[in-house]
């Protein structure tokens, strides 16, 4: 319990939590969690489009296309599920924090070229997937109340762990 609390606090700090309205990621409700996931998916899709535009490395392109394909598929499933249960995702402190952090990273990546870009993109993908996967596994899934939403997150986590593993290989190869 102490370890989990410590992990959640670490994750909150990692995402530059500045809002005073929320205590921790573990306290978000299902609709706020859905919003965070949707935002997190879209952020990775934005990174991938940037990689396709800047990188000349076929391996980077292959990974980026997989990120676009998979995160789009997961978001489509999430939207379909929310429509089915008649709910809208709710914006929250963590979604805002993730978006603000992503803007900084996109600005940084946009100024890089060649190997510098490829290495930074790959390391960011690894770090990003590690952080989000920890968040999903330790803060979100244990607290999601709706069984269908939880099942979608469990399926998503398996996919994103594969992405993390793929990113590890990519980092090692560069």
């Amino acid at each position: 319990m102490i370890r989990t609390t410590a992990l959640l606090l670490t994750l909150a700090a990692a995402f530059s939590v500045t809002s005073v309205q929320a205590e921790s990621p573990a306290e978000l409700n299902d609709l706020e969690i859905a919003h965070v996931a949707y935002v997190a998916d879209n952020i990775d899709i934005r990174y991938a489009h940037l990689a396709l535009a800047i990188s000349q490395n076929p391996k980077i392109h292959e990974f980026a296309r997989t990120m676009i394909r998979d995160h789009t598929a997961v978001n489509d499933q999430a939207l379909a599920l929310l429509k089915k249960i008649g709910a809208d995702p709710q914006d929250n402190f963590l979604s805002k924090s993730l978006t603000a952090d992503a803007e900084k990273i996109i600005n940084e990546l946009s100024g890089l070229r060649g190997d510098e870009f490829d290495k930074r993109y790959a390391s960011n993908e690894l770090g990003y997937h590690r952080a989000v996967n920890d968040l999903v596994a330790n803060a979100f899934i244990p607290n999601i109340e709706n069984a269908e939403v939880r099942a979608l997150f469990e399926a998503g986590l398996r996919i994103f762990r594969a992405h993390e593993s793929h990113a590890e290989n990519m980092v090692a190869a560069l």
Binding site: V74, L152, A162, H166
Partner: protein, 122 residues
């Protein structure tokens, strides 16, 4: 009725040939197998299958993201399988046995080719 002027040995040879053909057809019919590999949780399940030429392998995607089953040398490929889609491939002689998902290269599977020796009457 057989022509009584034909030698008995010729009649028997024809009969044996027809019977052998029927048995062979029946044996082939029985030996061809259908194998199903489910893609779930970013894994091929089962990830190893024993097949023979002429068998059919069907890959079914149970995941929410698209996958492929593609031989490592690109000699065969299911194409993109979206959620709930499936594709069947007939096992060929000397088919490449190692395969992966083109989108998730850590997803791998293996086909073991067995060349069955059919016995008459089986």
């Amino acid at each position: 009725m057989f022509n009584t002027t034909q030698p008995f040995s010729v009649v028997m040879a024809i009969a044996v040939t027809i019977a052998a053909g029927m048995l062979s057809a029946r044996a082939t019919e029985h030996s061809v197998k259908e194998h199903v590999v489910e893609i779930t949780g970013l894994e091929f399940v089962p990830d190893r299958i024993d097949v023979s030429p002429g068998d059919t392998i069907t890959w079914v995607n149970r995941d929410i993201v698209p996958h492929t089953a593609t031989s490592v040398d690109d000699s065969w490929d299911t194409g993109v399988l979206n959620q709930s889609e499936s594709k069947s491939i007939v096992v060929g002689q000397n088919m490449t046995t190692a395969y992966l998902c083109r989108f998730h290269v850590n997803m791998t599977g293996t086909i073991t080719l067995e060349y069955r020796v059919e016995s008459a009457g089986t």
